[in-house]
Symmetry: C2
C-alpha cells in the first residue's frame, strides 16, 4: 500500500525563534535560507505572527509588511502561513470587524496564504469574523483549537469546537498545543474523534511545543489517528521551549504507513544556516534547555510562573509562592477554566497573587474583572456567580453575553486620521494597521524607519570572540601591554600580561 | 482493563554520565541521590560497566568494587544492573573462561543483580560463557542484541539471535540501540516478532540513545509491541547523546493501556540533585546538544567520524574526508557488516582511512586483519574471501572459525601472580580482576589508591564563579586594584578597575 503523505509546516521563521530567542531574529539572518526552505517541499512555511510583527517594529526597526513581501518574493513556491489572534489580530484588544477585514485583506495582498486563526478562550465568536474575512479573500482559513487540560476540556468539547470552526468554513483545523501538554493518547483521541465525526477528509494540522519531552510521540499518535500536517522546526532551531526537530519527525516515519512530502536532502543547508546564525542571538536565548515536565502537575506554564514570582518579590512576599501555586487552580476554576495562554495566563496568575496578598477577590485587577464579566468572550466552563457579582460591584460594569467586538463602533477612519498625523507614517493602509495594533510603539517606529533595519544579534566577529573566550583562547591571543614607567627619574619599560 | 505495567531502568548512574560527561562523575556526587532512586520503583538501576570501571581507576582514584558495594548498601531495594561485554568483560580483549567466571562471581558477590551481556559483533559464542556464569550464581542474565542497520540485519536476524540468547537461558532480552538508529517501526517489528516467536512472556528490555531525536517514539512503539522494560535517564541528565528523559517517558504513557511502576513524585529530588551536580562537570560535557540526524544517512557514529578526521589530518590529508566517507560502507560490507560500535567502528574507520591513503587493502591494520580472520568472532554477514586472503598473506595468520576464547589457555594463576607483585595491590580477587582488565592503568591505581577518591569536577565555589562570569557579574564584584605609584619622588595612589 502506498504510504499516506504527511505535510510538514516549518516553524523556523516564526515560532521557533519566538520560542527560543525572544523573536529577535533579523530578516537579514533569514533571507539566505529561504531558497532552500522554498525547495524543501513543506506543506507551509510559518513566517508571520503577533510577536514577530511586534519585535520588528519594537526592536529591529524593520517594517513587518516589508518582511512579508520579502518572504513572498523569496519563496514563490511555498504556502506562507501566519498566526492570527482572531478578533485581536496581532494586538492586545478586540478590534472592530472593519479593521479585522482590512488586516486580512492587506495580509493576503502582501502574500499570506494560510491564516491560522485562534482565540485564547476558544470562543468561536472571537474567530468568526477573521475566518470569514479569510474566506472572502480566497485564502486558506485554518480554524484553531487551543489545547489545554481541565474538567471542561474533554475530547467531546474539542470535537464540538471543531464543528463550530468547520461551520465557519474552515479549510482545515489546527490543534494547537502551546504549553506542550498534549500527550500521545489525547492527541490520538482528539484527531480520531474529529475525523470520525466530520469525515476523514477534514484536514487536521497539529502544532506542539517540545518543552515537556512527550510531544514528538504525540505527533506520531496524531498521525496514526489521521492528522494530515504536523508542525516542526529545523533541528538547529528546535527543542527546549521550541518544537520537535523537522529531520527527526521525518526520519521517525520511515517504514511506517506514512511518509512526508519533504525532500530530506534539502534540509541540511537549512539546518547549517541556522546553526551558524543562532549563536548571534545567545543573549536572547531561553535558559531552558532539555525538558521540563513540572507543568503536567502544576498546570502552570513557565512564563506565568516567573511572572508571578517577580510580582511577589516586588511586594516583598517572595516566600508566599506556595500559597499562590495552590490558589492558581482555584482562580482558574472560578473563571470557567480558560486555557492558560497569553493573555489569560497573566490575568489568572496576577489575580492569584492578589488573592494571596490581599484576601480572596478583595481586590480584582481590571483584566480579571473583565474576564469574569465576559469582556474577553465566553469562558469554556461556568464562571462562579459570586465572583461575577464581586466583579460587577468593584467595577460598576455589567456582565455581557454578546460577542465583545459587537460593542465596538467602526474605528477605521479614526485610525487613519491618527496615523496620518504621525511623523514618518506614509499613507498606506499597512501603516494604519501597524498603528492600530501597536499604538505605543508605532510612532517611534515610523519616525525611525528610514534608518533601516537593526540587527540586535552579535556580529560574526563577536560570536568568534565569545567562542574564543569560552575556549580560554582570548588571553593567549592578546599582546602583552607595554608601559613606560619612570621612577625616580629612571625610565623602565614594563610589559604586563595575564599571569 | 488494567493498564500493563512497564518497568523503567534508570541510567543516570552509568550510561547517562558516560554519554554526557565522559564518565567522570565521582561517587560522592551520586550518593545523596541513591535513597530517592532506591525508593522510586525502577525495574532496575544501571550503575556499573566498562567505562565507569575504567574512569574510576584512571581518573577518579576510586575503587570500582568499593563503588559497587556502596551502591548495594545505599539501594537495598533495587536491582543493580551492569553492562558486560561478554567474553571481553570490561576490557578490550577476549578473556579465558575461568576469568570470565571469576568476574561474574565477584560482581554478584559484591551486589550486582542484572547482567546485561553483549558482544559488538552479536556473535552469540562471545556471550555464552558470561551468560552461563551469571546463571550459575543465580543472577539475572540479560542477553543483548546490538541494533544496527545493514542488508544482513533484518527483523528475522534479530529474532534468530534472540532465540540463541534464550537457548543460553537468558532471563530477558535487551534490544540495545547505542547509536540512536532504532526507528519506531523496526522497534515495533522486532519486539513483536520476538514475542510472537518465543512467547509473550519473554521479557524484552529496550535501550535507546536519544541522539537522533526519534527514539522516544521508538520506545512508545516498542511498548505497544509488548516491550516490558525501557531505559531512561532522569531529565536533568538526559537527551543529546544521552537518553530519553525518565519523566517524559512516564508522562507519555498517561491514558494509554500502559503505566509504569515508578512513583513520579520521587523523581523531582533525583532530578534536582543531578541538575545541581551536572554543572561541576561542564568541561567534560559533550558539545552536542539537540539532535543529530546525519547518522541515518552516513551510518557513521559521531565518535567514529571525529576519529577518522583526526587520522586524516595527522597524515596531511584532511581534504580527503569525502573519499573516506564513501569507503566506509565498502569496508563494512567486506567485513560482513559488523555493527559500528566500539571496537568495530574504530577498526572499520581506520581501515577506510588506510584504503584511501594507501590503496585498497594495500596495508591492513592488525585489528582489521584479525576481524577478517575471525579473531573477534563471527561477523554478521559473509566476509569478502579476497580480502580474507589478503589478510592471511599480510599477517601470515590463519583464519579461525572457532570461538576466539577457545584459543586461550587458563590465565587466572598468572594474573594473580602479576597482581601480587604490584605495590598497593591487596590479595583480593577483585584486584586481580582490575589488573586483568586494565593492565596499563591498574599499577598506578593500586599505588595511589590509599590517597582516596579524587573529584575531577569543579567545586561548588568554582561553579558559582563560572555562573557569575557568564552573567557578567565578576567584574562588578571585584574591588578596584589600588597601587601606590611614585614618580619623580612624588607618591600617588592610583586605582585601576575594568573599563
Amino acid at each position: 500500500m502506498k504510504p499516506r503523505e504527511i505535510g510538514i509546516t516549518e516553524l523556523v521563521l516564526r515560532d521557533a525563534h519566538q520560542s527560543l530567542m525572544a523573536t529577535r531574529m533579523a530578516m537579514e539572518d533569514m533571507v539566505d535560507a529561504c531558497a532552500d526552505i522554498d525547495a524543501a517541499g513543506y506543506w507551509s512555511v510559518e513566517c508571520w505572527g503577533g510577536a514577530t510583527y511586534d519585535a520588528c517594529i519594537r526592536f529591529l526597526n524593520e517594517d513587518p509588511w516589508e518582511r512579508l513581501r520579502t518572504f513572498r518574493e523569496l519563496m514563490p513556491n511555498s504556502r506562507l502561513q501566519m498566526l492570527l489572534r482572531g478578533q485581536n489580530l496581532l494586538g492586545y484588544r478586540h478590534y472592530e470587524d472593519g479593521v479585522v477585514e482590512k488586516f486580512v485583506e492587506k495580509s493576503a495582498e502582501n502574500g499570506m496564504d494560510v491564516f491560522r486563526v485562534f482565540d485564547a478562550l476558544n470562543d468561536p465568536r472571537n474567530l468568526a469574523h477573521a475566518m470569514q474575512s479569510v474566506k472572502k479573500v480566497g485564502k486558506h482559513a485554518q480554524g484553531t483549537i487551543c489545547y489545554t487540560v481541565s474538567p471542561v476540556h474533554g475530547t467531546e468539547d474539542y470535537v464540538a469546537l471543531a464543528g463550530r470552526l468547520l461551520d465557519m468554513g474552515a479549510d482545515s483545523i489546527a490543534l494547537k498545543d502551546m504549553a506542550a501538554l498534549l500527550k500521545p493518547q489525547p492527541a490520538y483521541d482528539i484527531v480520531r474523534a474529529i475525523k470520525e465525526t466530520y469525515g476523514e477528509d477534514v484536514q487536521i494540522n497539529v502544532h506542539c511545543h517540545a518543552t515537556t519531552g512527550v510531544t514528538q510521540v504525540s505527533l506520531m499518535k496524531a498521525i496514526e489517528a489521521g492528522a494530515d500536517v504536523v508542525d516542526t522546526a529545523i533541528s538547529s532551531m528546535s527543542l527546549g521551549p521550541g518544537h520537535n526537530p523537522t529531520e527527526s519527525v521525518i526520519e521517525m516515519l520511515d517504514g511506517t504507513p506514512y511518509t512526508t512530502t519533504v525532500d530530506r536532502t534539502k534540509l541540511k543547508p537549512i539546518r547549517d544556516h541556522f546553526a551558524a546564525v543562532a549563536p548571534k542571538y545567545k543573549k536572547f536565548m531561553s535558559a531552558v534547555t532539555g525538558v521540563k515536565t513540572d507543568i503536567f502537575q502544576s498546570q502552570i506554564p513557565g512564563g506565568m510562573l516567573s511572572n508571578m514570582e517577580s510580582q511577589l518579590k516586588a511586594q516583598g512576599a517572595g516566600d508566599r509562592m506556595d500559597e499562590v501555586l495552590l490558589e492558581v487552580p482555584n482562580v482558574r476554576r472560578d473563571a470557567g477554566y480558560p486555557p492558560l495562554v497569553t493573555p489569560s495566563s497573566q490575568i489568572v496568575g496576577t489575580q492569584a497573587v492578589f488573592n494571596v496578598l490581599m484576601g480572596k477577590y478583595k481586590v480584582m485587577t481590571g483584566e480579571f474583572a473583565d474576564l469574569m464579566l465576559g469582556y474577553y468572550g465566553e469562558c469554556p466552563g461556568d464562571r462562579d456567580p459570586e465572583v461575577v457579582e464581586m466583579a460587577k460591584a468593584q467595577t460598576k460594569k455589567e456582565p455581557i453575553t454578546e460577542r465583545p467586538a459587537d460593542l465596538l463602533a467602526p474605528e477605521w477612519d479614526g485610525l487613519v486620521e491618527q496615523t496620518s498625523a504621525l511623523e514618518g507614517a506614509d499613507t498606506s493602509e499597512e501603516d494604519v494597521l501597524t498603528m492600530a495594533m501597536f499604538p505605543q510603539v508605532a510612532p517611534k517606529f515610523f519616525k525611525e524607519r528610514h534608518e533601516g533595519p537593526r540587527n540586535v544579534g552579535m556580529t560574526e566577529e563577536q560570536v568568534e570572540e565569545e567562542r574564543r573566550k569560552a575556549a580560554g583562547l582570548d588571553k593567549a591571543l592578546h599582546e602583552p601591554i607595554k608601559y613606560t614607567v619612570t621612577i625616580n627619574g629612571q625610565s623602565r619599560s614594563v610589559s604586563v600580561e595575564p599571569a
